[in-house]
Symmetry: C2
Subunit: 327 residues, 2 copies
């Protein structure tokens, strides 16, 4: 199987004309036709074997995740997905691996009407680079810089399960099989909050996606907005879906681990966002329409820095490092 | 040096407001503001150590080449460069390497007014993935599919020097130092024909950039246009800039090598394009304005396939394989 056969067999599909894609796979460039009044949102993520996924990862879930982490960036700025490019370095062209990878990739792409318009394939250590394109009305993108003092801080879905799965897969903790399966699903097939992001336009004052860990990522909102924050620990510990594990007869209760997972776990791909208290009903309504839970975990403060508060409102000493590829 | 320091130090520069870039590096997405009536041309290329460049390559020339190969795709469709994203996997964060890489990258980016708007950095085997964005008036992009029977076939600049350098660097042939330096410049710092591509809008009937070898790449135009071609060997052998090497007292005359380099060398990043004979003056004028030579090397035929003709117009048997990462 040559390079062009590979592209034709696994990565070329007919493009509907008349939409945002004027020209798809097969020429020197693809052509996008943005609608008047729209900005084009662009994000690029690179996934490397051994860093972002295990060498023996199921290629179908890898196809899903490679696109999901990019769609999550579109969600964070409130953009509607349009299209993506895929650049792929492969140690060899393995037909069954490629078919499963393409199946996982296109299942998610089709669910979001996001069209593969081009890319590159080469031989090399396994590496996936997707660049995704979305549209957002000019001036309405959710940015990191809009948080205001007094705003609520919200998080979508659950936090920490991906990290819990990672710790288990690395053999550092043990989880019951059913709990591992549930946590692993979150690690390997995260759900980008694409609908929620779009529905939060005009409601949220700032937003980002939680990819490196909640506290570190919230720090980017605080830095960009020139503000501080208080986080209620009692709220964040409830965010781990597998928290039922931490009670009952098979309890592996470990509060430190729970904090590590929820506050600095990484790979969550949930949205963290801020909104004025007057928007609480609107936020809940947007979340219902997007079919995802949202939890209010704290507030933006004038005092710089990020403080964790216990159930009595007392500051807790804590240092949870966010993931950093070069730290 | 952490991941965010690295991005801030080497890859974040102020963005002028009011242009096509509404938001640059630093949020979940960058935002492009396309002008009315414009299509956005998109291309993505991935460069892998050991495949596309040697491990000990000068990082400054690598920064140049990583962007140049992408700008060459924009040139091939007649688009004006606007912006690019850079995803980078690095074995380690080496300050002097990164500074030199960024210098080479931004020197070329600035020359084409092409703004870095985002990307990703991660640890991993050295891999560079750039996605580039340009604008082209709707309906005016140069495509591979527009060649007409009777059209001339043209090539810009020179062909084969990059391959000649590669053969020398691999120790398969010997070149005098001055010739190697000249050929190596073409291999490591190709010049994307950005001006020429834009000036050929409305003149050329089809175009692409020669990256895998002339014959193989021309084959894409023929397949997309449903046509054949005749190529005059006497014209293509003149296209190698280092052809002076092949005569004189230090002659390393090897016609087979010359054909291999010019017809199937790869890494040329010149434009191959077709235009009606009535456009010969317009093509030459566009080339003069873009300050690059163009050579007419053959014509599009109704008979399918690609035929090489000798100086007497007789077909020559020849099979020159184009570069294929998985063949």
């Amino acid at each position: 199987m040559g390079e062009f056969d590979l592209i034709a067999r696994y990565f070329t599909r007919p493009v509907r004309s008349g939409g945002a894609v004027a020209l798809g796979v097969g020429d020197d460039c693809a052509l996008l036709a943005p609608r008047p009044g729209m900005h084009l949102a662009v994000s690029s993520d690179m996934l490397v074997e051994g860093r972002h996924f295990f060498a023996d990862v199921d290629p179908r879930t890898l196809g899903h995740k490679a696109l999901a982490v990019n769609l999550s960036d579109l969600a964070a700025c409130g953009a509607r997905p349009l299209a993506f490019t895929l650049a792929l370095a492969l140690p060899q062209a393995d037909a069954s691996w490629l078919q499963a990878f393409a199946d996982g990739l296109f299942a998610l792409a089709d669910a979001h009407d996001c069209v593969l318009i081009g890319g590159d394939t080469t031989r090399g250590p396994l590496n996936l680079c997707i660049t995704v394109f979305g549209e957002v009305p000019a001036g309405q993108a959710l940015l990191r810089s809009g948080a205001q003092v007094g705003d609520d801080i919200w998080v979508s879905g659950t936090l920490g399960d991906a990290r819990l799965a990672l710790e288990a897969l690395r053999g550092r903790i043990q989880l019951p099989a059913s709990a591992l399966a549930r946590a692993r699903q979150r690690l390997e097939q995260p759900t980008p909050r694409v609908q929620l992001g779009q529905r939060l336009r005009g409601i949220a004052s700032s937003a980002l996606d939680v990819s490196d860990g909640l506290l570190g990522d919230l720090g980017h909102i605080l830095a960009a907005s020139g503000a501080g924050a208080e986080i209620e620990l009692a709220k964040t510990t409830e965010l781990i879906a597998a928290s039922a594990l931490f009670t009952g007869p098979e309890a592996i209760f470990d509060m430190e681990l729970m904090h590590q997972c929820t506050l600095a776990g990484g790979d969550d791909y949930e949205l963290a966002f801020t909104a004025a208290p007057a928007q609480r009903e609107a936020v809940q309504s947007a979340a219902r329409q997007a079919d995802v839970a949202v939890t209010r975990i704290g507030r933006i403060t004038a005092t710089p820095g990020l403080r964790l508060l216990d159930a009595q409102g007392q500051p807790q000493p804590a240092a949870y490092a966010s993931f950093d590829h070069f730290a």
